[in-house]
């Protein structure tokens, strides 16, 4: 592809290593879990999709140019379709169709964005994208990429896509999708967007969209019926925060580096935590009652991390997000800053809901071999954000580890618990709206069906004309014309007329 620049360029910078490690570990853990838990029938078919998806997913982290990035991204997205539809049920087929439609849409937007950005940058190298100067082309491209990311992470109004896929795919695959696949969206933001070079309107729109996604996902997720469904809404909610972080850094160059850092931390923290929860939600219900208590306790770790309880990775992530918002000035950032702790409340409520639903779930017993993948992810959740080179030192420097900060970070979780306890004591029963994972998206097939039916309306056939009339008339005219008296008279008239004409 010499037309626009180079292809198949690979990079290994700190971002690649961070995301690469996350992706590799999560795909590996999900793969191991799937290998030990899936029935042998159909296992090779599963891995026929899983391996390309993991390859593509992991390779995106190292892609250095638009084309390899797009290729890896597509490979992961398209191959993941096989994971969503693996069970072969009607529901999974329907989920697969919805997934594929949204993937196609996302890919289209991403391709358009990549084309626009490479044209604007005059190069296909991703490093040129992030340094783009402000221009309408850059804005257009960035908007397209943001659209693609929005589709990928299920931003409003597509919140249902993550829960839908997680609930349908086998647990290992769901873990990989939740822990790695959605984080590719975060990578996309970091790698492609010209932070600091976009109009304020774009930045604010993304922030609003991110925040809205976060809250709406929580609201819907509270009524989800399956554990993995709840986790899916939680993912959507968390990815809303990622968008919020991205949005805050898009326009103001002061917040650019902070925003990138926040996205990285959020992605890392959420990737491991969500993957751990996913695998745990598959292992724990199959345990004996005693072990089950232990398992649930272990699961509390990633859940607390998500809530942002002090000293967890989630805490670091939330802190990074606050830093970004503080670096900005204006009505919106301040409002968002004020609302931010409430996202923690929402996440805590979702986690409580998760444990509640999980308690009622039963699955087949899992062999001991199902533990390692899960445990590795748990460890990663506990440590990743802190083990990151320089992370602890930076945190200390920024006062994250001071007592006031820690206390501030505690109250959303406590509030959520108190809220639930209060409701219990007051014997207020929350409404029992059972939201199937996928919510509004489940209506899509109906809409498509209706459109299809509308298009298929029998086209009003024109009434068959009496086709014999005109030819018969013409033939009769000719028959009269060629009859001798008429024709010979015609000749005489012709001669006379011509004589008159030429004489004049």
């Amino acid at each position: 592809m010499t037309a626009l620049g180079s292809a198949w360029l690979w990079v290994a910078d700190s971002t690649s290593v961070l995301f690469g490690s996350l992706f590799a570990l999560v795909w590996l853990a999900g793969g191991v879990h799937s290998y030990v838990t899936l029935p042998s029938a159909g296992k090779h078919r599963f891995f026929a999709y899983y391996l390309p998806a993991s390859l593509g997913g992991t390779a995106t982290a190292f892609a250095g140019d638009a084309i390899s990035f797009y290729a890896c991204f597509s490979l992961m997205s398209l191959a993941s379709w096989g994971l969503v539809t693996h069970s072969g049920t009607n529901a999974s087929r329907q989920a697969g169709a919805i997934y594929l439609a949204l993937t196609a849409l996302g890919e289209a937007l991403l391709l358009a964005g990549l084309v626009a950005l490479s044209s604007a940058a005059g190069s296909t190298e991703l490093s040129a994208f992030v340094n783009l100067a402000p221009s309408p082309g850059a804005t257009f491209g960035a908007a397209l990429v943001l659209g693609a990311v929005g589709v990928k992470i299920g931003a409003l109004p597509l919140i249902g896509i993550l829960p839908l896929t997680y609930a349908t795919a086998p647990a290992g695959a769901a873990a990989a999708l939740a822990g790695a696949s959605t984080k590719v969206a975060a990578l996309t933001l970091v790698r492609l967007l010209p932070f600091g070079a976009l109009p304020v309107a774009v930045s604010e729109a993304v922030m609003v969209a991110g925040l809205a996604t976060t809250f709406v996902a929580v609201a819907v997720g509270l009524f989800a019926v399956s554990a993995r469904g709840v986790l899916g809404y939680s993912s959507a909610s968390q990815m809303g925060l990622v968008m919020l972080a991205a949005g805050s850094g898009l326009a103001d160059s002061a917040a650019t580096e902070l925003a990138r850092g926040a996205i990285l931390t959020l992605a890392l923290h959420h990737g491991f935590a969500k993957a751990a929860l996913m695998l745990g939600s598959d292992v724990v219900p199959g345990l004996s009652p005693g072990m089950r208590r232990l398992g649930t306790a272990l699961l509390a770790l990633p859940a607390l991390a998500l809530v942002g309880v002090p000293l967890t990775t989630g805490f670091a992530a939330k802190y990074a997000l606050k830093d970004v918002l503080l670096a900005l000035s204006g009505v919106l950032p301040e409002t968002v800053y004020a609302l931010l702790p409430w996202t923690g409340v929402g996440t805590a409520l979702l986690m409580l809901r998760f444990f509640r639903v999980l308690a009622n779930e039963r699955t087949a017993a899992r062999s001991a071999a199902a533990w390692p993948g899960w445990v590795v992810l748990l460890l990663a959740t506990a440590s990743a954000a802190w083990l990151w080179p320089g992370a602890a030192g930076q945190a200390a420097e920024r006062g994250m580890l001071a007592v006031p900060a820690l206390v501030t970070a505690l109250w959303p979780g406590l509030l959520a618990v108190m809220l639930v306890v209060a409701l219990r004591l007051a014997r207020v029963r929350p409404p029992r709206w059972n939201v199937k994972p996928g919510d509004l998206l489940l209506l899509a097939p109906l809409a498509v069906g209706a459109a299809d039916a509308a298009l298929a309306l029998p086209r009003s056939r024109r009434p068959m004309r009496d086709r014999s009339a005109l030819p018969a008339l013409l033939l009769r005219a000719e028959r009269v014309w060629v009859s001798w008296p008429v024709a010979a008279t015609a000749f005489v008239v012709f001669v006379l007329a011509l004589s008159a004409l030429t004489a004049g």
Partner: protein, 488 residues
């Protein structure tokens, strides 16, 4: 030398007729030798063109009138696609038609179509292009009606109505053009500098000629003949209705915009924009219709309508990248779509599977065939690094470059829709069904190997898009003079 790509198939066709119905072996030999010779001739011409020597030759046809050919890069790209795929299709057709009647007629007209398509590719001026274009229209008819069923005859009538209607428009446009501008030749960047003041007439000339070409290019609303023409045998659908005939239409548009009016004049006259708009609408509408087709060939036919509009749109955008993308897509779409039509033909002939609903188990029964189809389908949807991606990348880049951002969105959403109408075929083939794995060959090897070959081509063209010989690079080199020596 320049006449060889036209003469060899023409003579092969004549010889095929003279050999008659029964001398099968000799007929096949003649055709295969001719295809090889024509391929060699075309490739060597292309080699010469890359060296920068665009040879030309002409034959007088009357006062102020000549049939002239020239071997430039644009034309030779098309000629090479047609000629090389002719050889592949011959092998396939020999297998496919092995039990059919009227084979002499079939192969004879088939060869003549190739001759005419090569003529269209190499024509030096609008009149010569018209001459070959009409011959192509004519020689396609017997292939459309090959089976002789009432359905085929009706399709043939429809085809003729469109083809000759378009031909009449083209004739009127060409005559008008020659009347105002004299005997012009295709010149990269435009040949009408001297006649630029006739804006009224030139607009009409463009409209008439474009209408003529758009019939074959199946631009909506002139596309009606193409889905009906799918009653023809699979090799015809494959090579003619996915490559030679329809591409002759889009190639005509390429010549019209790039080499006759020139991108500048086409834009300043305001004639390119309506064409682009029509193409954009076609991409959307045809793709949506394709989603709804149960008959495999019809689904592919509407896909072709949409994909041809990609090329038309790229050309009408009048930017170097888009023009290059259009030319590259002309070649890329050829290999991708021919794979699919071969596959569908093979399914029909081997398993009598012709609609989506009966495809269950086909992937198990014909794994290599369906794998090839999948590659082509994904390539068509623009999945990297396959061929369709390379051309779509250029097209989309060109759309952005021209400032027509909507066109960029059209291209990418077209890609999404492509996935939408291709994936159901893949899904249907892996669904459980009545077909059991084959014992030895999954189908007649003469049909299998061509499918694999063209599927590989759509991989190779994409992966090595930056190799100097690739269609993409070729297209870039070909449009360079159109935009004053532009280089990427």
């Amino acid at each position: 030398m320049l006449w060889l790509p036209i003469l060899i198939p023409a003579l092969a066709g004549a010889l095929t007729f003279l050999l008659g119905e029964r001398r099968t072996r000799r007929r096949n030999t003649v055709n295969l030798i001719a295809a090889t010779a024509a391929a060699a001739a075309t490739l060597s011409l292309a080699g010469a063109a890359f060296q920068g020597t665009a040879a030309q030759a002409s034959l007088p046809l009357g006062p102020g009138l000549q049939l002239a050919v020239r071997g430039d890069l644009t034309g030779l790209l098309f000629a090479c696609v047609v000629t090389l795929l002719w050889g592949v299709t011959l092998v396939y057709a020999i297998g496919y038609m092995s039990h059919d009647r009227n084979r002499a007629r079939f192969f004879g007209f088939f060869a003549w179509c190739i001759a005419a398509a090569n003529g269209v590719a190499l024509a030096r001026d609008p009149l010569s292009l018209f001459v070959f274009y009409e011959i192509l229209s004519l020689c396609t008819y017997p292939l459309v009606v090959h089976s002789g069923t009432p359905e085929a005859i009706a399709a043939g009538r429809k085809y003729l109505l469109y083809a000759f209607g378009g031909g009449a428009a083209l004739l009127a446009g060409t005559a008008w053009l020659v009347a105002i501008a004299g005997p012009v030749q295709f010149t990269p960047g435009g040949a009408l500098l001297a006649a630029e003041s006739h804006t009224f007439a030139l607009r009409w000339v463009f409209a008439l000629m474009a209408a003529g070409f758009c019939v074959k290019a199946a631009l909506m609303p002139l596309h009606g003949w193409l889905p009906s023409a799918m009653v023809a045998p699979a090799p015809v659908s494959s090579l003619l209705h996915a490559v030679a005939v329809v591409k002759a239409g889009v190639f005509g548009i390429v010549r019209l915009v790039n080499d006759l009016f020139g991108p500048e004049l086409a834009t300043s006259l305001g004639v390119a924009q309506p064409l682009a708009l029509a193409a954009a609408v076609t991409i959307g509408v045809a793709s949506v219709i394709a989603l709804r087709q149960d008959d495999l060939k019809r689904r592919l036919a509407y896909s072709t309508v949409a994909q041809l509009a990609y090329i038309t749109l790229g050309t009408a955008l009048c930017t170097p990248l888009a023009a290059a993308g259009a030319l590259a897509h002309l070649a890329h779409h050829a290999v991708m779509k021919i794979t699919m039509f071969f596959t569908v033909g093979s399914l029909g002939q081997t398993l009598h599977v012709k609609v989506l609903g009966t495809m269950g188990g086909v992937a198990r029964r014909m794994p290599l065939t369906m794998a090839s189809f999948s590659v082509a389908a994904l390539a068509l949807a623009g999945v990297p690094p396959l061929a369709g991606f390379a051309s779509k990348w250029l097209l989309a880049g060109g759309a952005f470059e021209s400032g027509d951002w909507w066109a960029l969105l059209v291209y990418v959403s077209g890609g999404a829709l492509t996935l939408g109408y291709m994936v159901p075929i893949l899904l249907a083939s892996v669904r459980p069904g009545a077909h059991e794995p084959a014992e030895r060959w999954e189908s007649d090897p003469r049909m299998l190997w061509p499918i694999i070959a063209v599927a590989l081509a759509s991989v190779v063209f994409g992966v090595s898009a930056s190799a100097p010989w690739s269609p993409a690079r070729w297209a870039l080199a070909a449009v360079s003079p159109v935009f004053g020596g532009w280089t990427p």
